[in-house]
Every structure is written in structure tokens, then in C-alpha cells.
């Protein structure tokens, strides 16, 4: 279902929602990030996309799973900390990052449902903002078979058509959120629909497809595990964690105990982001490492995204947001690797 | 209201300063119990990481004390310490940690009185500054 809201009415909408935590994209120095709203605000017209992906709303970098305290005569009490009950509303999720949320859902809500993820997912409303122009040069959602107007993973999608937004409700959760204030929203007109179609067409045109045929890439991966392409592609890699930490779909994590006090024992079991590009990620206690060099780690990242995940979930674990390639210190571009794989003989 | 009692970690070299603090003890010169001494083999063996770790674990002040120049049991350990600690002092100051919370001193095995005086002054100084809350773990 689609309705329309005037751009001028947007601050009023925020005001009506002010009992919730509202997150808006805001500029911090040179880059955008999600910040708590200060009240009557609009969505900045200059907004491109956040540098850090919105995965932190459902998979924070640091998250306490539970606290373990030692009681009398060696007994332990385990307190499952799940304090989050308030609703978070995030405005300005780009459709690519919405797609990433749908990937994370596949990982965390399938067998062995993750209660921490699931609770945060339920208590967050993700409001997307379609891209009328691609925010970055490396944007390429179309390569991944998605579009700048994709609705996957989102609750609501806003489409900017100049002086107003077309509001598309995707989930019931989204619909319910705005249902209390009908007078802010108007009916969508034929003219609105026409201008949307025009913008959509333009936008799709502006996004470059960076890999001609991704299905070819996936096919080729089956036969080129031992290729020396991986050595050459990863030669300039420096083993940092930028690509995976900025990636909206990457979700590997670590679990550690952090002692608050020794006697009586008080421990937090903490989950933090982890990273397949770090050498210690897979290292055994014996020192043996199944993926000992950067070539095998880079290969792992590409295979996980474009072969393994595709085999198990039927989708590529990439949204084409381009963050890894925009910010790689060594300038490694994932799309170029994928194209080379597709052309591999 | 209860008086605030600062916690101060003191890294004392085994050969001079630790002996100096012992001398203060056996001579019945009372130094404040706020000082928690940790004996190290040499002031030169104190890594800046120990200092940061002490603050992280709740120290309100950190003292490093070694032999006077020329008296080091290992000939020149305290000279190395002097360089390292100056760098650390400058850096902590630069990031806005209160420089008064971090001190270095030369105390020989015979200077029980100097140690007592130093300890008293340091504790009072920190008491005036209040609890250290910048580099506390978990924050």
C-alpha cells in the first residue's frame, strides 16, 4: 500500500513519534552515520549513505549475552540481559542495506534462532529511502540483481519525488507505526506515480552494472578454488578488517568472557564482531591454521558471498553497496575480482 | 560523608625504592595505606602498558620509583625508564589525562623519609583531584 507525505510534514511526523528512539542519518565530519534525532528534523537532501552499515542495530559490535555471577558455595547465577524493549525507528536505510538485513535474517532466524538478534529485529522499524541517484561511484545493487527501489528487509520504503515522499508500507509493523496519524498522509495521485516511474527509470540507468553476468561468476567459482587468481587478487591486501566490518551482510562474530571481578566471580559473556580476514580468526589452539595466508582468506570471503551462501540460501551474500571497495586501504575492488572470475578460463 | 580514599599503584624497584619503602615501615614512619606497592625488578622494566593497565583497573594515581641515576643495580635500567616515562607523561598529558596522576621518583634504599613524604604528598594531591574516571575499564 502506498500513501504520500509532504516533505514539509516530515518534522511533524518525527515529533509524533518522539516517544520512540528515532535515528536519522547525520553528517559526522566527512561521513554519514545514524544519530539519535534531536526533534523536529528533516531528512537531509544531501544524504548519500552511512559509512558504517546499519547492521549495528541488530548485530551491535559489542553485545553482552549474559552476566554470570558466583553466589554462595560455588553456585552460579546466569542473568540473561535482554533489556531492550523500547522501539527504535531508523530512517534513511538505503535499499541495499535493507537487502542485507534480509540476509542477516536468513542467518540468525533460521534453525537455532538467535534470541538477541530476533528481539532487536522485532523492536526496530527500518524505514528505507530509495536512491534517486546512486550515492557512490561503486554503488552497484543492480549487479546483485537488486534495485535502488528494493523493499527487501525493510518495513517501510520512502521514495523521494521532490517535494514529497511516497510511503510504501511493506510490513504490518511498518503500517501500524504510521496508522495513528492519518492526517499527515495523503492519497497517492496519478501524477505522483508518473514522476516516481520517471525517477525509477533514471535511477536504474545511472547505476552501473559492474559484473556482466554474476551467475557466470558463481559457476566459475566451482572450478577455480586452486587458481592463482586468488594470489594475485589478494597480493595488495593488508589483512585489516575494513571490508568485513563495513559490510552490511558480514556477520561473523566472536564470543568471549570478560571478567568484572575475580572473587566472587562476576563475568560478562560478550559477543563482538569478528573478521575472516584476520589471521587469528581460524587459528586452532595448537597453532595450526586452516586458512594461513591472505590468499586463502580473501578467497574465503569471495566464496562465502558468491558460492557457499548461494548454495545454501539461494542468494549472494552481497548487496552491491560498494563499501568494501570504497574504503579498502589497498584499493581492492570486489567487482573487479568478480568480473575476472567470470572471465576465467 | 566518608572521606574519599584514593587508590595509588606504586611500581617500586626491588633494589632501591622498595627497600626505601620497607625502611619507612621499619622506622615507624607511617606512609598512607592508599599506596599499593608492586615490586618490580627495575624501573626500566615497567612497561607503559602496566601504567595504562593500572589506570584501567581503577587506580587513581600511578607512581613509578627507581634508583637514583648512577645507582641502578642493572647499571642503566633507570636511564631507559627516564626516557620511556617522559614519553608516556607527555602522551598522557596530550590526550588530556591529568598529568598529576602519574609520577616518577628516585628513592634510594636509605630514603625512607623521602618515600614517606612523597607518598603523603601524592595521596593528598590525588585526594584533591578526586577519583580517576577517564580510563576505567568497561567505559
Amino acid at each position: 500500500m502506498e500513501v504520500v507525505i509532504q516533505r514539509d510534514s516530515f518534522p511533524q511526523l518525527l515529533e509524533k513519534l518522539n516517544r520512540y528512539n528515532i535515528w536519522l542519518p547525520r553528517k559526522n565530519g566527512d561521513y554519514w552515520e545514524f544519530k539519535l534525532s534531536r526533534g523536529k528534523e528533516s531528512l537531509d537532501k544531501k544524504y548519500t549513505n552511512t559509512k558504517l552499515s546499519p547492521k549495528k542495530f541488530v548485530l551491535p559490535q559489542t553485545e553482552t549475552l549474559f552476566q554470570i555471577t558466583e553466589g554462595e558455595n560455588g553456585k552460579f547465577n546466569i542473568d540473561e540481559k535482554q533489556k531492550k524493549d523500547s522501539l527504535d525507528i531508523v530512517f534513511g536505510i538505503r535499499p541495499c542495506d535493507g537487502v542485507a538485513l534480509s540476509h542477516l535474517d536468513k542467518v540468525f532466524l533460521n534453525s537455532f534462532k538467535d534470541p538477541y538478534y530476533s528481539k532487536k529485529r522485532d523492536n526496530t522499524v527500518f524505514i528505507g529511502l530509495a536512491c534517486e541517484t546512486p550515492p557512490f561511484e561503486n554503488c552497484s545493487c543492480t549487479t546483485m540483481g537488486e534495485s535502488p527501489f528494493s523493499t527487501k528487509g525493510l518495513d517501510i520504503l520512502l521514495k523521494d519525488i521532490g517535494d514529497r515522499y511516497i510511503v510504501e508500507y511493506i510490513t504490518d509493523k511498518g503500517k501500524k507505526l504510521f496508522s495513528g496519524f492519518p492526517n499527515l498522509f495523503g492519497k497517492i495521485t496519478t501524477k505522483d506515480k508518473e514522476s516516481l516511474e520517471k525517477i525509477k527509470k533514471e535511477s536504474n540507468k545511472k547505476i552501473k552494472k559492474r559484473v556482466e553476468d554474476l551467475s557466470e561468476t558463481t559457476k566459475k567459482l566451482d572450478i577455480m578454488f586452486d587458481s592463482d587468481l586468488w594470489f594475485h587478487e589478494s597480493q595488495s591486501c593488508i589483512n585489516c578488517g575494513i571490508c568485513t566490518y563495513l559490510c552490511p551482510s558480514c556477520h561473523c562474530f566472536d564470543i568471549n568472557d570478560e571478567q568484572l571481578s575475580k572473587k566472587p566471580l562476576n563475568v560478562k559473556r560478550v559477543r563482538t564482531w569478528d573478521n575472516c580476514q584476520f589471521p587469528i580468526f581460524t587459528m586452532h589452539s595448537s597453532g595450526h591454521n586452516p586458512r594461513p595466508d591472505k590468499q586463502s582468506r580473501y578467497r574465503r570471503r569471495i566464496y562465502h558471498k558468491f558460492s557457499y551462501f548461494y548454495k545454501t540460501e539461494g542468494e549472494h551474500l552481497c548487496t552491491g553497496c560498494g563499501r568494501c571497495s570504497n574504503y579498502c586501504p589497498a584499493g581492492i575492488n570486489i567487482f573487479e575480482t568478480l568480473q575476472k572470475v567470470a572471465e576465467y578460463e | 560523608m566518608e572521606q574519599y580514599e584514593p587508590r595509588i599503584i606504586a611500581f617500586l624497584c626491588k633494589w632501591c625504592s622498595s627497600a626505601g619503602s620497607d625502611l619507612a615501615g621499619v622506622s615507624r614512619m607511617k606512609y598512607p595505606p592508599n599506596i599499593i606497592p608492586i615490586t618490580v625488578m627495575c624501573s626500566g622494566s615497567v612497561s607503559p602498558l602496566y601504567v595504562l593497565s593500572a589506570f584501567r583497573n581503577g587506580a587513581d594515581g600511578v607512581l613509578i620509583s627507581g634508583c637514583h641515576p648512577g645507582d641502578c643495580h642493572y647499571i642503566k635500567g633507570n636511564f631507559y625508564a627516564r626516557r620511556k616515562i617522559l614519553l608516556l607523561t607527555e602522551l598522557l598529558n596530550y590526550i588530556g589525562m591529568d598529568e598529576k596522576r602519574f609520577k616518577m621518583s628516585w628513592v634510594s634504599a636509605a630514603e625512607g623519609a623521602k618515600f614517606t613524604e612523597l607518598a603523603k604528598d601524592f595521596v593528598e594531591e590525588i585526594r584533591f583531584l578526586g577519583p580517576q574516571n577517564k580510563l576505567i575499564r568497561g567505559n
Binding site: 553456585k75 537455532f112 568472557d257 575475580k262 566471580l265 575472516c276 586452532h284 586452516p290 | -
Partner: protein, 274 residues
């Protein structure tokens, strides 16, 4: 049991037995849950043990599912968590969650001869399946165990191995000769070569260090074993145990959910990242 898959259920250590001493010490622990009964598991599965304040480690369950009143783990002292476990006493409380992973396809093996091949601490995961096979001895053909350790002191389950000889063939080996040792001297693959002669209708189940597994597999292939006749268990570093955290992955498999038991026919097809 708690619905939260990360929740460690409190368990009491009811017995600790020293197997091997020294730098690479091995101890065998038995545990019982503080509240309620043990979970049911199958041979080959693992459990995540926590020592609070130190962290978690994935350990294979070494008793047979038929013994229901305890869970048994034989643990090599190797890192932070396992060292902490070695420092524990009878009556200490740890956390246990699981069971995780697949199991040995014992139904499928009915009517076949079973050859268990283990090295070092690798006997622990084999022990569960071996004990289960002994309970249903009539379902299987001949049973044989080939087990090797670095020295005679590094042999685990010594007493039980002695008792075992009355029920099945047991071949032991050590890497270098020692006085008083009158069994095979040499590496496990060599022992396999000298003792195994009947690939027909047999299943070989291997567990040990990665390098041993590799060589035993090629030895068995030489002896005429088909890929489908060879089974092994794979160990990779694990953190979550439920197929999410990403580090135990081999290709599209997560060892904690799709593994740890693989036939060589299956494992061969995956990237050799273990």
C-alpha cells in the same frame, strides 16, 4: 532446557581421572547437569563447555549414549579454557550446552566390520562410537581398534584398553621404541598397513591429528578401501556451535552443524581447509 542456544546449562563435575601427565596432559571428566537430566545425544556429537571467566571450548562427548547418567569428556590441556578445566576439582561447576553436530551413521554400518583408528587424544571421539558398537556387538562384524600415541605414557584410557582386549582386537603403537614395549613401534599409518587386510565389507573410522588422518586415508586407499568406507571427524575452531559465527566453516559447511563426522567421499569434495 533454556531456549537460548547460547545459554550454558550448569553442570557438576562428578569425576576427574588423570590419563596423561606432563605438558600435554589429558584428563577425563564426567559431568551431570545441576537441574534436570542429561540431554540425549548420539555418538560423534560434541558439547560446548564453559569455564566461567575463561570462555568456551567445543569438546567431543566420549561416552556412549547408552550410559545416561553422565557425560564424559577427555580433554587435552591446550589453551586458556582447557587449562582452566584441568585446574578444576570434583564438585566444581561448569557450563555445558549442546549437543552439536551430526553423528556416526551407525545404522548404515550394520553388518559391516568396524576398524577404529585413533591417534593421541583422537581416541576420545572414537570411544563413544566404539562403546556403542560393543553394546550392539551382534549387529556388526569384526571389531578392531588400532591406536597410537607418541610414547607409552601418552596412551589414554589405559585400563579400559586392557579390558577391551577381551571383547575385540586391539593393536597399540608408539612412535619410538621403549624398553618393555612389546607391541608395534612406528606411526599409526604403518600399523594400519601391517594389521588391516580385509577392506571388503569394512568401515574405517579415523580420528587424530590432521596429519595422521591424511596419511591413514592414503594408506587405506592403497589397501583397497573405497572413499565411502572411510569416516573421520574434523575439528576446527568454534565459538557459537550453531552455524553462525563463521570460523569453523569448510566450504558451505559449518563443522559445528554439518560436521564433525564426514565420510572421506564427502570430505574430499570440500576445500581442504581444516
Amino acid at each position: 532446557m533454556n531456549e537460548n542456544p547460547y545459554f550454558p546449562n550448569l553442570a557438576l563435575i562428578t569425576s576427574i581421572r588423570d590419563e596423561v601427565g606432563g605438558d600435554r596432559a589429558i584428563k577425563t571428566f564426567q559431568t551431570r547437569f545441576v537441574n534436570g537430566n542429561n540431554f540425549t545425544f548420539k555418538s560423534g556429537q560434541c558439547a560446548m563447555l564453559s569455564v566461567f571467566g575463561k570462555g568456551e571450548a567445543m569438546i567431543s562427548i566420549s561416552n556412549s549414549p547408552f550410559t545416561k547418567d553422565f557425560l564424559q569428556f577427555s580433554i587435552l590441556k591446550s589453551g586458556r579454557v582447557t587449562s582452566a578445566l584441568h585446574n578444576m576439582e570434583n564438585g566444581s561447576i561448569i557450563g555445558v550446552r549442546g549437543p552439536y553436530g551430526n553423528s556416526f551413521p551407525m545404522e548404515k554400518w550394520k553388518g559391516r566390520n568396524l576398524i577404529f583408528i585413533g591417534g593421541g587424544i583422537g581416541l576420545a571421539p572414537l570411544w563413544s562410537v566404539l562403546k556403542t558398537a560393543l553394546v550392539n556387538k551382534k549387529d556388526y562384524g569384526d571389531l578392531m581398534l588400532i591406536y597410537g600415541a607418541r610414547t607409552s605414557k601418552d596412551i589414554v584410557f589405559k585400563d579400559e584398553l586392557y579390558d577391551l582386549r577381551s571383547e575385540m582386537t586391539v593393536h597399540l603403537s608408539i612412535d619410538k621404541d621403549e624398553s618393555g614395549w612389546n607391541e608395534f613401534v612406528g606411526f599409526v599409518p604403518e600399523n594400519v598397513k601391517s594389521k588391516v587386510s580385509w577392506p571388503q565389507n569394512s568401515i574405517a573410522i579415523i580420528c587424530g591429528p590432521p596429519i595422521m588422518i591424511k596419511f591413514v586415508i592414503s594408506t587405506l586407499a592403497e589397501l583397497g578401501f573405497e572413499d565411502e568406507q572411510i569416516y573421520t571427524t574434523v575439528e576446527n575452531k568454534m565459538k557459537c556451535g550453531i552455524g553462525k559465527c563463521g570460523r569453523c566453516s569448510i566450504g558451505e559447511h559449518y563443522v559445528c552443524t554439518e560436521g564433525p563426522v564426514y565420510s572421506w567421499a564427502e570430505l574430499k569434495k570440500l576445500p581442504q581447509e581444516y
